[in-house]
Amino acid sequence: MSDDGHWLTLLGHLNARSFPFVRAWDDPTVSELIGALAGALVVVGALALVALVTWKRWWRPLVRDWLTSLDHKKIGIMYVVLAGVMLSRALVEAVLMRTQQSLAVDAPGIVAPEHFAQLFSTHGTIMIFFMAMPFLTGLINYVVPLQIGARDVAFPLLNSISLMLTAGGAGLVMISLAVGEFSTGGWSGYPPYTGKAFQPGVGPDYWIWAITLSSLGTTFSGLNFAATIYKKRCPGMHLSRMPLFCWTALCTSILMIFAMPPLTLATALLALDRYLDFHFFTNDLGGNMMNYVNLFWLFGHPEVYILILPAFGVFSEVISAFSSKELYGYKSLAAATMVIGVLSFTVWLHHFFTMGQSADVNAAFGVATMTIAIPTGVKIYDWIWTMFRGEVRFTAPMLFALAFIVTFVLGGLTGIMLAIPPIDYVVHNTVFLVAHFHNMLIPGLLYGMIAGYMYWFPKAFGFRLSEVWGKVAFGCWVSGFYLAFMPLYVLGLSGMARRSQALFEPDYRPWLLVAVVGAFLLLAGLVSLFVQLWVSVRDRAANRVPVGDPWDARSLEWSVSAPPPEYNFATIPQVDRLDPFYWRKERGEAYRPADRYNAIAVPKNSWVGPLVGLAGAACAFGLVWHIGWLTLLGFVGVWIPVIARSFMRDVHRTIPASEIEATERRWLDRAHAARPVPRELETEPANLGLARPFPAQVPA
């Protein structure tokens, strides 16, 4: 605790050299200039955003309609926006890393080792905690209450707090570009390397506190979703009648509740080591870094399923909708989901087979790992048989789902290989492993999130996304993936260690060149997504689906207008079987007015979430730079709004019955005036969101 004095100064450890611009001025190498450019982008981007919002006079609507909103739909959308921003940064970093490796065979390349290490650390950290998690949390937030016939999540305020804590963590990672540096210890942050003895700078501290904010937010999200799904289902919506996405959301929530504490604890103990000279994971005085590795993967493996299961849910919805068919093996799928959830806690050791355990231990965990392949394989076949005797349409989300099935199976195969300890010994820590987990997470998470985004976008905004650009994006994401990662399997089998800033084996070069082409294609995929959004917003008048059912889908979220009213359902629906909206349409009972409408109470906006997020980020920033007053201010700032809020009783706003009735009538009039479209025309402007029923059956 030799730096006690710094805590009491105004700026803690901050000084001129903390800024990449100063470092680049002193030492203008390409690597430092790239760092300064990235920092400048953050600063200029933030200033430009502020200027734009001010110039367009968007502050009031931004704050009133979005930041302080407790509506689960808006919070969901904000999560997805956050994910999109962070995805952009982390993907650019990936391209930079691939470029560096392709240039650095027996050559220095353009990125110095220190910067390269920060790149792979932020890339992993962002992709997992600030891209994947917000994306899936956003989708769950938006969709689950609508699917179970609820008006909101169980705890709307907590929902906003979760979002803002996650955003605070993401903000901290962004700030690290312009102030100081990030950890070089990878997304898993293994000590003792991340300990004070080996990384005395602020890098690991940024990592620790960004992760901590995010994991707190995620724990609360998991709690919130679990309570929502258990307690807020509409009458008749038994667990066994929930859409499969809700099952996967439930399983993911349970995993969040149980798997986030090990991470919180691991980072907290690492922080104690770094700040107060504790000896949990140090080399000396009785520290034991194996405890960290166990804690981290006790979180890390369930985390894999936290990420993948919601995507499984999306694919279940998408494949069923675009095959116009009931999901095959619904009960099988739900059971397989829960089995995966339980098994995911029994396999963490396979992340470190090479730590010297006995053969018995390794073999036991290897077998447990392979066991997960059974329910996962079952799911794959269930999706395939869902297409059987269906009417398959190759829309962009469906294409992502098909690409997922094929690609994910390949990743699963290499997963089986890695589960076998002797094979793991020869590919562990090589780019084979990197190829494997990208092969699981790009199809198994990102394709699912993109498919879900495209599938539910018309529901959320009332108009469809451009199909052409969706297919362009699909082409880039899929070909880019294969080009970028198949070479890594080869290189990994050839013994190329992961996280290498430079390479000394000329034979690697051609494969690295293919991989970098793939990385650029993936970047093109991201750009196509943005172009798609821009084109679709521009042409939105031609693609409106106000009636709300553009895909002739089956669950409750499609039974309301697009976008749905703030209160979701004018009357809480009654459900008597699986796929309630499909059967309502089948029986001709859809689009009927209610007998009477009641006033509905919705939560009022609240500043608590944004204040807590801001204060949390300030506290974290103070801790990173050892600024005592800011830490204290931030900590107190987190609790004051929460306590003050508990003294507020006027937290609901009532929407009068007349207003609800008027809104509903407007929508129903539109539905009755709209022309039902057959599936052949579902991507045409004729599709106003009213589906023409299929002829019941076509014989074989």
Partner: protein, 212 residues
Amino acid sequence: MSGPANGPQLRHVGLNLLHSDEMEPEEAATGLYGFWIFLMSDAILFALLFAIYGTQLAATAGAQGPQDVLKLGPAFVETVILLTSSLTFGLAAIALKYDRGQFGLVLWLCVTLMLGIAFLGFEISDFRTMFADGATPDRSGFLSAFFALLPTHGLHVAAGCIWIMVMLAQIAVFGTDGRVKLNLLRLGLFWHFLDIIWIAIFSVVYLQGTLA
């Protein structure tokens, strides 16, 4: 909503929610359920802290071990204080349940608060003694684990004390309306949960450490 129409239904022992108008029983049940989930997550945190403590028992690195630093006497007093505070919180909950005016409720909450603060006082005095003996967390893996597990519990108790104070203020402002009742019920769960954790600490840390 499909709330129970006939007859008061006690969804949760200790809370007579149908007496309050502004909160649906479902809403209260959901609120309570969410807090149970939170406690579950918190319990995982403590379970892992215990696991770490177990693995670090031998890692004394030449500094004091459990036998040298742990004193059963003060720990026993702390145990009695905390168990008593659980009892007094239970009495507060009974006062709340039977709506016998606010006096009993406030009285027992105040007693609980005092006991909580007394517990913290004893614990801090323990730590001071240890620090004076040179048993600081930067000395060894064992002491690190000890000073992670116990202060985590202590911080929870401190948070509980602040929560009691907030609830006393809320009772003063709102009386016992639905949300105050719900929050008191959650606070009760929290307080008893900390008691259970302490019993585990007393058994695993103190009994095992001094008698083994």
